[in-house]
Amino acid sequence: MRVMAQIAMVMNLDKCIGCHTCSVTCKQAWTNRSGVEYVWFNNVESRPGQGYPRTYQDQEKWQGGWVRTATGRLKPRAGGRVKKLFSIFANPKMPSMQDYYEPWTYDYEHLLTAPAGDDFPVARPKSLLTGQDTKVTWSANWDDSLGGGNEVLAADPILQKVSDQVRQDYEKAFLFFLPRICEHCLNPSCAASCPSGAIYKRAEDGIVLVDQDRCRGWRMCVTGCPYKKIYFNHRTGKAEKCTFCFPRIEIGQPTICSETCVGRLRYIGLMLYDADKVAKAAAVKNEHDLYDAQRSVFLDPSDPAVAAAAERAGIPADWIDAAKRSPVWDLIMRYEVALPLHPEYRTMPMVWYIPPLSPVVDVLRDTGHDGEDPHNLFGAVDALRIPIDYLAGLFTAGDPEPVRATLNRLAAMRSYQRRINLGEKPDDSIPAAVGMTPEEMNDMYRLLAIAKYERRYVIPAAHAEDAHRLEQLGTECSLEYEGGPGMYQTGPFGEASGTPVPVQVETFHMLRSRQTSDGFTDAGDEPRRVNLLNWDGNGRPEGLFPPRRTDSDQENKS
């Protein structure tokens, strides 16, 4: 047994309202730079839908993840080491910009500088790749909330697999949102695909990172990741990916997407696992067994033998303690309501999902049934083939059984708690029907519905003493805000060459100076810009409007 710790996440999809707050705060924190305009470390997809980049789940096409060879071993689907090196000069399976979208901005300046005329000036979209006029035809969530209709939906790789009787009538479609970040897999195929060895898994907490100093831009990781969560920065020529906000995690804070999640649907905690078992579990023959195989890799931290082995492996005591309180452990192992995203890619993903019951409840309610009655619900979970098969296509490699069991538990919890909420006598036969005790059901309800911040995010701080980090905040050059002389110098070798600014310092200073500055980060731009962040709504800050024309001006004109 080789115990390792992994920081993991569970998202409760029933609670996701598709507000994209996580995507926006993530973008502000990590990818608001040139070269990564199209990059969304966190994105929220509408399901059914094509996802981002378009149809990324179609591994026949994109060749991501692992395949099991005839000898029962794993190799990257896009090919082993030799094949990779021979295709290094032009990666044959890399998505192009068109599969993401061409990033754009608007020519706002034209609104201010257009000469007087009969027509209102418009801000034309300009491509951020070429600077030329462009036509906006797609973006990261273009098909949000089933936008685009059947034409777009028909290309959803999961929907295609479910059956040929895909719902063509639009009203019967179901909808839920799927927020996605990097899965920080136990068996990451991106790292396996990297010829330079720049992508690594941190041994302490399992976060998968790209060493920006070692990445040489061979682009194999983009193909290797079946979730397409590695992005190529087209300005620096380096791969970038979700970092699980490691600077925050290291000091015990949740990721920015979790911190700002409006629906409070994310849970972060530690999982202990047996690293020796990973390769074998990822290579089980039947894809339907992968869900159970991955669960068998996890180690129960409350088992004294595991705790002792963890201690021997150098895992600190407060980490083992955190693992015992991990909400992720509870959701995956105790209540068995969380499922992995696409276990069939054999990467052992570590961001799991509680499948949404709402499509089922919605259908029941729309057909005039009581959506809270346990028997209606159980029956509907069985009868509504399309949502179940679709969810199974996402979470269990197509095996409907674990999805059905999970949804039944959620349905039971819903009915059980309704009775309590209405002051009726609790019906203990409901939890019994799904193999739970009333206490367990109550605990699950508390965790899913009303858990507080400290219960949702159980994150032990990293064991590096923080004195120097704090010292550094005060001593780094304060010119390292965006656009300042300290950030993104254009070195002699192109964009952002030279010694990079540590990422934490960079964002810290950038945000601080932006939010607290009275002046303009962009000197020389004053007449047309005003920092509305500092405007309390009172008065009229300088620069909000063009200078008022005085009488003497008028006289001079006439």
Binding site: A90, L129, Y200, A203, R235, T236, G237, P502
Partner: protein, 251 residues
């Protein structure tokens, strides 16, 4: 042999190699972050899929040919029974095929770079200068070969250029060997050394990080967090306080 010869065939090559080595070390230390292929595949795939492998495989064969022709002494190949005529035929045939692949691939890549909007927008001045020098060396080399073999009866550079180049490596440079070489070859050599000197300061450095180690390393790489307490590298003259209670996990 006059001063110009000494300058061209002794001083200039050594200077160029010194810049190549020193520049590469300096670049590696100063600019690891900028050390990348800066691939433009994201912008345009269709043309790149053909042109880039054509160019790169072509240029790799050209490289192998140069190593064989310049660094392996003629006496060695003759000792294993390859006559000058056989060698020449092989070199001209393989060399021309590889050279043409390289040339066509490069022409396509340069055309793509100019004609695809996003790719052109991502092209720096440094890139443009690099393309001029690189294309110059390749075209001059092909021209020298074609000229010598079509206009003349072939030129045996293994009697002159090769020993001269090897003499640079033993630090006994013999500029005399280069005086009688045809001008087309001389110009190619001069251009090549200019390319070597320019190399460390361009995107061409990615050639030095050809990922051979990938063939032998395990698929998944694990790394422990940096032992330094903050994110800033330790500066010279600063003592790091002893970190209390570090984990003693095997490193």
């Amino acid at each position: 042999m006059n001063t110009t010869d000494i300058l061209l065939w002794v001083v200039y090559p050594y200077l160029s190699i010194a810049v190549l080595i020193g520049g590469t070390i300096w670049r590696y230390r100063y600019d690891k972050f900028g050390w990348t292929t800066r691939s433009s595949q994201l912008y345009e795939t269709t043309l790149l899929r053909w042109a880039s492998p054509m160019f790169h495989f072509g240029v790799l064969f050209v490289l192998i040919g140069h190593i064989g022709g310049l660094l392996v002494p003629k006496s060695w190949t003759e000792a294993v029974g390859i006559t000058e005529h056989a060698y020449h035929l092989m070199a001209v045939f393989v060399g021309t095929v590889a050279g043409l692949c390289t040339l066509i691939g490069m022409a396509l890549l340069i055309a793509r770079r100019r004609l695809t909007g996003p790719v052109f927008a991502a092209t720096t001045k440094n890139d443009k200068a690099m393309y001029v020098v690189l294309a110059g060396v390749i075209v001059l080399g092909l021209w020298a070969t074609v000229k010598a073999n079509i206009a003349g009866g072939g030129y045996d550079y293994r009697e002159t250029v090769s020993p001269w180049l090897r003499s640079l490596f033993y630090f006994q440079p013999d500029a005399q060997l280069m005086t009688a070489v045809p001008n087309s070859f001389k110009i190619h050599v001069i251009a090549a050394f200019a390319l070597f000197a320019f190399w460390p300061f361009t995107r061409l450095v990615h050639a030095f990080s050809a990922p051979i180690g990938y063939l032998t390393r395990p698929y998944i790489v694990y790394r422990y967090r940096d032992p330094r307490p903050g994110l800033r590298p330790t500066r010279p003259g600063w003592d790091r306080p002893a970190a209390p209670g570090r984990r003693s996990n095997g490193r």
